[in-house]
Amino acid sequence: MSGTTLLKESGPREVFCGLTSIVWLHRRMPDAFFLVVGSRTCAHLIQSAAGVMIFAEPRFGTAILEEKDLAGLADAHEELTRVVRDLLQRRPEIRTLFLVGSCPSEVIKLDLARVAEQLNKAYEGQVRVLNYSGSGIETTFTQGEDGALSALVPLMPTSQPQESQLLIVGTLANSVEDRLKTLFNRIGISKVSSLPPRKSSDLPSIGPGTKVLLAQPYLSNTAKALKDRGAEILLAPFPLGIEGSRLWMQEASKAFNIDKGIVDSTLEPLIARATKALEAYKSALSGKRLFLLPESQLEIPLARFLHRECGMEIVEVGTPYLNREMMKAELDLLPPNIRVVEGQHVEKQLDRVNAEKPDLVVCGMGLANPLEAKGVSTKWSIELVFSPIHGIDQAADLAELFARPLYRQQLLEHKVLAHT
């Protein structure tokens, strides 16, 4: 491991909880419904984080616990069954129902697994009912996806023992997913599947012939569950930027014994084109100082990309938690003496932001405007989980997301500091 300085901090945190993942998961699998079992806070969180009003009836909702549900658990289980029955009657097109645990449901120890099991019996052949926890006392932001995917793993059919396939794990934009599949096909990996699939009922198979590439860095539990099903987990940097995407694809091709020459000749023109496209943003970002607050778990791979390929100076990389095994390949690429802080004390961290005066801060939505009001440019981390940013072809688009706030700062003639 490199000489990166790994620090831990604890204190008040400012991150979303795992429920927030529902915002993109329900878009990915339109035949699934996410039912949070929680409080009005949970419902309000998801609708506020999604930042949208509802244009159609949504594929997520909250079974809001009321005073009487807290009195007796048996009744709460019955109540939940009733709510599910009403919901499924209203939405007969649902094929997979996720019961999503929340802080309150975890604290009162509502047994969602048991309710799911009973519902599965009742709705056999019609709807599959799964459960996982997106609670903020156990998960942050993107970890919710880890929970949802882990819940899907036991349902994946077992593949034939000799069947060799590549499984890409983690939600990607559809266009990016298609592109990556095409590239893998081009270098000779013919069977490529994805988890989560585009249809919840269309789960890929899994077995000893499956090699898993993680497209997202927050899927430790899913990786473990896939490994337990016999799959091999390939550890590589994550497919952000040219370098990360190249190493990620090379790791797969090594595992499939594909001739390096074929991989190189396939990727070289892509790399040349992407390098050219990146040039403009590189000059905008080079030498600019970057501070990443912990939120999406993408912070370390982003820091690696923005430093190595865009020439940004890294002041601090915050990450909600650090899985050293999964991040090893990324940390190895970071230059020595970069401050990587696991956990958070939001006040102290903001003190450091104020002291360091970085050119750009990657942060959550709650913190962005207060920083802008102090003249610090910001980038919302939530945007990164919605944008097509993975792969060599997207490297320039990814850089552009960070260059835009800096460019905007230059365009605006007047600025107001500390406007409230």
């Binding site: 806070t41 419902a43 609708q47 159609a56 009836e57 006392i137 959550g364 405007n369 406007h419």
Partner: protein, 532 residues
């Protein structure tokens, strides 16, 4: 357990945050897990605040639950007091912390801190945001003023006469995430100043704890937003003998009534208004152009205060017909029911936007006055809409001066409500002219794909006329009269924004009259019948 796809109000601790963030020098320690920190974005994103809300979240985790969460709470309280040095501290918990019963308020009281500590108990499983805001404001005012209650309610609202000064009043209720509060304050100050009445304390928005201590020194209180400040005004009346005004000055009539009430409470003779200062709404509504507005069917839904005010303006000042009135606020159910009964309606009290949507669809209005959610419902139904109430959306915090209260508020309301209706008329004209050869496709409808009879691409993926067919065929299933092709053709010529009403009325008439088939003659009969 209640299935909720979308909620009009947040949890009660968000209400407490609204009070804390509205004021200066207050800090709120909230015992809550990390996910609850989302609430910051309501203030920094929706209201575009350049300051973080003054809130410390304890962000306890599962692993803390086995240990001493009480110590964790105390640590956060100590650190927050040291770092932010507030004048008063609010201490409370969100839904999850309520379950683990650490009682952070009592913990804070036991820490020997030298500042006022307000313990907030906001039951998260039965109450909601506005209630939480009202309770927090009340607890804060009571906490700071209770030592000053001397048991004698000798307060004299006419004291300004002996003291030879202008009468002075407090404006209570405006808060962050409240609808247009920022501008309402300015407008009401201006209005009262024109009548030589001074405004002393405005709270919670912009107030300090020192300001709250000044409240009893004014002559009367103005309860601007009953949702937030009625409980506080009641307490002040009971304990200090301070009377308060009940009229919310939204609309021309209500503004006049408000002035009358304030003057009566202060025993101040009411000067005749300078007509030039008054709202243009009255003349605009009287002008011949506004004949078009006569009898327009409106559906109203929002918080209690704005819904009730809207019903009065719609009926008495714009000559609309109110066909639906409701609120999501249980606390305001009683006055909204009363207001609905007064105009012959049954109020809709509901949290469920889908229920509201179906009520709108059923009432077939020509204009919806609602929240941002009703704006979306109205859009789906192809009905013009204006937003009159929270929940707050970034679009409800306009850069320009845009009050709802007082004379200027009435001007804003006239423009905001009439504009979408005129767009509806324009929509019809676009539909009418689109077959002219001069017409180009460049004339896009403001309703996008739904407007002017264009093919829809949304979930319904139906054209207007297909929708009409669908509505007709659905009604056939309900054993209703059948539309002849000729009748359908005639119906399609009716402007889309009144077509639903005409269809319903005609079917109603046909059923009453025992007609099995509806053609153009039946339509004319029905028209005559409902005129008569």
């Amino acid at each position: 357990m209640e299935l909720t796809l979308w909620t009009y109000e947040g949890p009660p601790h968000v209400g407490a945050m609204r009070i804390a963030s509205s004021m200066k020098g207050i800090h709120y320690v909230l015992h809550a897990p990390q996910g609850d920190t989302y609430a910051d974005l309501l203030f920094t994103m929706i209201e575009r605040r350049g300051e973080r809300p003054p809130v410390t979240y304890t962000t306890f985790q599962a692993r803390d639950l086995g240990g001493d969460t009480a110590e964790l709470v105390k640590g956060h309280i100590r650190e927050a007091v040291e770092r932010f040095n507030p004048e008063a501290l609010l201490v409370g918990e969100s839904c999850t912390a309520e379950l683990i019963q650490d009682q952070p308020g009592s913990l804070a009281h036991g820490m020997g801190l030298d500042l006022p500590i307000i313990n907030l108990e906001l039951p998260a499983y039965s109450k909601k945001e506005n209630w939480g805001a009202a309770e927090t404001f009340y607890q804060l005012v009571r906490g700071l003023l209770k030592d000053k209650v001397d048991g004698q309610t000798t307060h004299d609202p006419r004291a300004w006469k002996q003291e030879e000064r202008n009468p002075k009043v407090n404006l209570l209720g405006p808060s962050l995430l409240g609808f247009r509060c920022r501008d309402d304050i300015l407008e009401i100050k201006k209005l009262l100043n024109e009548h030589d009445i001074d405004v002393a304390v405005v709270a919670p928005l912009g107030a300090t704890t020192a300001d709250l201590l000044e409240i009893p020194k004014s002559d009367i209180n103005v309860c601007l937003y009953p949702e937030i400040s009625e409980s506080t005004c009641n307490w002040l009346e009971k304990n200090f003998g301070m009377p308060f005004s009940h009229t919310v000055p939204i609309g021309v009539g209500a503004t006049k009534d408000f002035l009358t009430e304030i003057h009566k409470l202060l025993d101040l003779p009411l000067k005749p208004n300078n007509a030039n200062n008054e709202s243009k709404l009255t003349w605009y509504s009287q002008s011949v152009d506004s004949n078009y507005l006569t009898g327009k069917r409106v559906f109203i839904f929002g918080d209690g205060t704005h819904a009730i005010a809207a019903a009065r303006i719609a009926k008495q000042e714009l000559g609309f017909e109110v066909v639906g009135l409701g609120t999501y606020s249980r606390e305001m159910a009683r006055p909204v029911r009363k207001a609905a009964e007064a105009i012959g309606l049954k109020a809709l009290i509901s949290n469920d936007y889908l229920e509201v949507e179906s009520a709108i669809s059923e009432a077939a209005p020509e204009l919806v006055l609602g929240t941002q959610m009703e704006r979306h419902c109205a859009k789906r139904l192809g009905i013009p809409c204006a937003v009159i109430s929270t929940p707050m959306h970034v679009q409800d915090v306009p850069a320009r001066y845009s009050p709802q209260m007082g004379w200027e508020g009435s001007n804003v309301i006239f423009d905001d409500w009439v504009h979408p209706l005129m767009m509806g008329l324009e929509e019809h004209l676009i539909g009418m002219f689109r077959h002219d050869f001069e017409f180009t496709d460049g004339h896009q409808s403001h309703l996008g794909h739904l407007g002017a009879g264009k093919a829809a691409t949304d979930n319904s993926s139906l054209t207007e006329s297909q929708k009409e067919d669908k509505a007709i065929s659905e009604s056939v299933n309900l054993d209703s009269p059948i539309w002849t092709p000729e009748g359908k053709e005639e119906l399609s010529k009716i402007p889309f924004f009144v077509r639903g009403k005409v269809r319903k009325n005609t079917e109603k008439y046909a059923r009453q009259a025992g007609c099995r088939k509806i053609d153009s003659e039946t339509m004319l009969d029905a028209k005559a019948h409902f005129k008569g």
